[in-house]
Assembly symmetry: C2
Homo-oligomer: 77 residues x 2
DNA sequence: GCATCATATCCCAAACTGGGATAATCCGAA
DNA sequence: TTCGGATTATCCCAGTTTGGGATATGATGC
Protein backbone atom coordinates (compact mmCIF):
# COMPACT_ATOMS: atom_id res chain seq x y z
CA UNK A 1 0.00 0.00 0.00
CA UNK A 2 1.34 3.42 -0.89
CA UNK A 3 2.93 5.36 1.92
CA UNK A 4 0.64 8.37 1.81
CA UNK A 5 -2.51 6.38 2.36
CA UNK A 6 -1.99 5.21 5.88
CA UNK A 7 -2.99 8.24 7.86
CA UNK A 8 -5.86 7.91 10.31
CA UNK A 9 -7.82 10.51 8.39
CA UNK A 10 -7.42 8.62 5.19
CA UNK A 11 -8.49 5.46 6.93
CA UNK A 12 -11.59 7.18 8.20
CA UNK A 13 -12.28 8.49 4.75
CA UNK A 14 -12.07 5.03 3.24
CA UNK A 15 -14.22 3.53 5.95
CA UNK A 16 -16.80 6.18 5.21
CA UNK A 17 -16.85 5.42 1.50
CA UNK A 18 -17.20 1.71 2.12
CA UNK A 19 -19.91 2.26 4.65
CA UNK A 20 -21.84 4.50 2.29
CA UNK A 21 -21.60 1.99 -0.51
CA UNK A 22 -22.88 -0.81 1.61
CA UNK A 23 -25.65 1.33 3.04
CA UNK A 24 -26.86 1.78 -0.52
CA UNK A 25 -26.68 -1.95 -1.10
CA UNK A 26 -24.16 -1.57 -3.89
CA UNK A 27 -21.31 -3.89 -4.79
CA UNK A 28 -17.90 -2.69 -5.91
CA UNK A 29 -18.76 -3.91 -9.39
CA UNK A 30 -21.91 -1.82 -9.48
CA UNK A 31 -20.11 1.31 -8.37
CA UNK A 32 -17.36 0.57 -10.87
CA UNK A 33 -19.97 0.27 -13.58
CA UNK A 34 -21.38 3.69 -12.76
CA UNK A 35 -17.91 5.12 -12.83
CA UNK A 36 -17.05 3.44 -16.10
CA UNK A 37 -14.10 1.71 -14.48
CA UNK A 38 -13.13 -1.86 -13.66
CA UNK A 39 -14.03 -3.37 -10.31
CA UNK A 40 -10.37 -3.36 -9.38
CA UNK A 41 -10.46 0.42 -9.41
CA UNK A 42 -13.01 0.46 -6.62
CA UNK A 43 -11.26 -2.34 -4.76
CA UNK A 44 -8.06 -0.34 -4.91
CA UNK A 45 -9.26 2.95 -3.62
CA UNK A 46 -11.35 1.31 -0.93
CA UNK A 47 -8.34 -0.72 0.08
CA UNK A 48 -6.08 2.33 0.16
CA UNK A 49 -4.09 0.98 -2.72
CA UNK A 50 -4.78 4.05 -4.78
CA UNK A 51 -5.60 7.67 -4.04
CA UNK A 52 -8.62 9.60 -5.20
CA UNK A 53 -8.10 13.13 -6.33
CA UNK A 54 -10.83 15.68 -5.82
CA UNK A 55 -12.58 15.19 -9.13
CA UNK A 56 -12.56 11.43 -8.74
CA UNK A 57 -13.92 11.84 -5.27
CA UNK A 58 -16.82 13.88 -6.59
CA UNK A 59 -17.50 11.22 -9.20
CA UNK A 60 -17.54 8.56 -6.53
CA UNK A 61 -19.93 10.48 -4.33
CA UNK A 62 -22.19 10.89 -7.32
CA UNK A 63 -22.07 7.15 -7.98
CA UNK A 64 -22.90 6.57 -4.33
CA UNK A 65 -25.58 9.23 -4.39
CA UNK A 66 -23.90 10.77 -1.37
CA UNK A 67 -23.25 14.31 -0.21
CA UNK A 68 -19.56 15.15 -0.58
CA UNK A 69 -19.73 17.94 1.98
CA UNK A 70 -20.96 15.59 4.67
CA UNK A 71 -18.07 13.28 3.98
CA UNK A 72 -15.63 16.15 4.19
CA UNK A 73 -17.01 17.28 7.49
CA UNK A 74 -16.49 13.83 8.90
CA UNK A 75 -12.82 14.28 8.08
CA UNK A 76 -12.26 17.57 9.78
CA UNK A 77 -9.34 17.37 12.08
CA UNK B 1 1.35 18.33 -17.40
CA UNK B 2 -0.02 14.94 -16.52
CA UNK B 3 -2.74 13.70 -18.80
CA UNK B 4 -5.38 13.29 -16.14
CA UNK B 5 -5.28 16.89 -15.02
CA UNK B 6 -6.60 18.56 -18.10
CA UNK B 7 -10.34 18.28 -17.60
CA UNK B 8 -12.33 21.48 -17.48
CA UNK B 9 -13.45 20.66 -13.96
CA UNK B 10 -9.91 20.26 -12.81
CA UNK B 11 -8.98 23.51 -14.45
CA UNK B 12 -11.79 25.27 -12.63
CA UNK B 13 -10.68 23.70 -9.42
CA UNK B 14 -7.14 24.96 -9.86
CA UNK B 15 -8.31 28.42 -10.83
CA UNK B 16 -10.37 28.48 -7.66
CA UNK B 17 -7.43 27.55 -5.46
CA UNK B 18 -5.23 30.17 -7.04
CA UNK B 19 -7.89 32.79 -6.75
CA UNK B 20 -8.46 31.99 -3.09
CA UNK B 21 -4.78 32.17 -2.33
CA UNK B 22 -4.41 35.54 -3.95
CA UNK B 23 -7.54 36.85 -2.29
CA UNK B 24 -5.86 36.09 1.02
CA UNK B 25 -2.75 37.90 -0.11
CA UNK B 26 -0.63 34.78 0.24
CA UNK B 27 2.31 33.71 -1.88
CA UNK B 28 2.99 30.13 -2.91
CA UNK B 29 5.92 30.14 -0.53
CA UNK B 30 3.71 31.15 2.39
CA UNK B 31 1.18 28.46 1.65
CA UNK B 32 3.99 25.97 1.21
CA UNK B 33 5.36 27.00 4.59
CA UNK B 34 2.03 26.34 6.27
CA UNK B 35 1.86 22.99 4.58
CA UNK B 36 5.41 22.09 5.51
CA UNK B 37 6.28 21.57 1.86
CA UNK B 38 8.55 23.25 -0.67
CA UNK B 39 7.24 26.05 -2.83
CA UNK B 40 7.51 23.78 -5.84
CA UNK B 41 4.78 21.64 -4.32
CA UNK B 42 2.32 24.52 -4.46
CA UNK B 43 3.55 25.60 -7.90
CA UNK B 44 2.97 22.08 -9.11
CA UNK B 45 -0.53 21.54 -7.93
CA UNK B 46 -1.60 25.02 -8.97
CA UNK B 47 -0.08 24.39 -12.36
CA UNK B 48 -1.81 21.04 -12.73
CA UNK B 49 1.50 19.28 -12.63
CA UNK B 50 0.47 17.21 -9.67
CA UNK B 51 -2.82 15.98 -8.23
CA UNK B 52 -4.18 16.63 -4.79
CA UNK B 53 -5.90 13.80 -3.04
CA UNK B 54 -8.71 14.52 -0.66
CA UNK B 55 -6.64 14.81 2.47
CA UNK B 56 -4.14 17.07 0.80
CA UNK B 57 -7.01 19.17 -0.47
CA UNK B 58 -8.31 19.60 3.06
CA UNK B 59 -4.85 20.59 4.23
CA UNK B 60 -4.65 23.17 1.48
CA UNK B 61 -8.03 24.65 2.31
CA UNK B 62 -6.91 24.90 5.92
CA UNK B 63 -3.75 26.70 4.85
CA UNK B 64 -5.88 29.03 2.76
CA UNK B 65 -8.39 29.43 5.55
CA UNK B 66 -11.07 28.51 3.04
CA UNK B 67 -14.25 26.47 3.18
CA UNK B 68 -13.77 23.17 1.34
CA UNK B 69 -17.49 22.73 0.80
CA UNK B 70 -17.78 25.99 -1.07
CA UNK B 71 -15.00 24.92 -3.34
CA UNK B 72 -16.72 21.63 -4.00
CA UNK B 73 -19.94 23.34 -4.89
CA UNK B 74 -18.14 25.44 -7.45
CA UNK B 75 -17.17 22.17 -9.11
CA UNK B 76 -20.64 20.74 -9.49
CA UNK B 77 -21.15 19.40 -12.93
C1' DG C 1 -18.70 -30.23 -0.71
C1' DC C 2 -19.97 -27.08 -4.37
C1' DA C 3 -21.86 -23.22 -6.93
C1' DT C 4 -22.07 -18.28 -6.99
C1' DC C 5 -21.30 -13.78 -5.90
C1' DA C 6 -18.10 -10.40 -3.97
C1' DT C 7 -13.65 -8.62 -2.93
C1' DA C 8 -8.55 -8.67 -3.03
C1' DT C 9 -4.30 -9.35 -5.36
C1' DC C 10 -1.04 -10.06 -9.37
C1' DC C 11 1.71 -8.14 -12.96
C1' DC C 12 4.60 -4.65 -14.91
C1' DA C 13 4.81 -1.03 -18.46
C1' DA C 14 3.40 3.51 -18.34
C1' DA C 15 2.47 7.51 -15.72
C1' DC C 16 3.28 10.38 -11.81
C1' DT C 17 5.83 12.50 -7.76
C1' DG C 18 9.51 14.86 -4.65
C1' DG C 19 12.06 18.68 -3.79
C1' DG C 20 16.37 21.30 -4.18
C1' DA C 21 18.27 24.09 -7.64
C1' DT C 22 17.70 27.30 -11.07
C1' DA C 23 15.41 29.77 -14.69
C1' DA C 24 11.82 32.86 -15.99
C1' DT C 25 8.36 36.53 -14.78
C1' DC C 26 6.34 40.07 -12.36
C1' DC C 27 6.25 44.58 -10.45
C1' DG C 28 7.15 48.73 -8.01
C1' DA C 29 10.62 52.18 -7.09
C1' DA C 30 13.96 55.44 -8.77
C1' DT D 1 12.90 52.64 -18.78
C1' DT D 2 16.07 49.83 -16.03
C1' DC D 3 17.15 47.44 -11.92
C1' DG D 4 16.51 44.20 -8.16
C1' DG D 5 14.01 41.70 -5.15
C1' DA D 6 9.91 38.94 -4.86
C1' DT D 7 7.22 35.46 -6.88
C1' DT D 8 6.25 31.67 -9.82
C1' DA D 9 7.58 28.03 -13.19
C1' DT D 10 10.60 24.48 -14.77
C1' DC D 11 14.44 20.99 -14.62
C1' DC D 12 15.99 16.57 -13.40
C1' DC D 13 15.29 11.74 -12.76
C1' DA D 14 15.28 8.05 -9.29
C1' DG D 15 11.73 6.25 -6.75
C1' DT D 16 6.77 5.56 -6.36
C1' DT D 17 2.16 4.91 -8.00
C1' DT D 18 -1.40 3.60 -11.38
C1' DG D 19 -4.35 0.85 -14.95
C1' DG D 20 -7.09 -2.89 -15.66
C1' DG D 21 -7.71 -7.68 -17.25
C1' DA D 22 -6.91 -11.98 -15.23
C1' DT D 23 -6.97 -14.71 -11.36
C1' DA D 24 -6.90 -15.91 -6.55
C1' DT D 25 -9.17 -15.64 -2.18
C1' DG D 26 -13.13 -15.10 0.80
C1' DA D 27 -18.04 -15.19 2.07
C1' DT D 28 -22.69 -17.20 1.93
C1' DG D 29 -26.32 -20.40 1.01
C1' DC D 30 -27.75 -25.04 0.17
Amino acid sequence: MPKSLRSPRHQRFLAELISLRKAKGLTQAQVAEKLGRPQSFVAKYEGGERRLDLIEFLDVTTALDADPCKILSSLRS
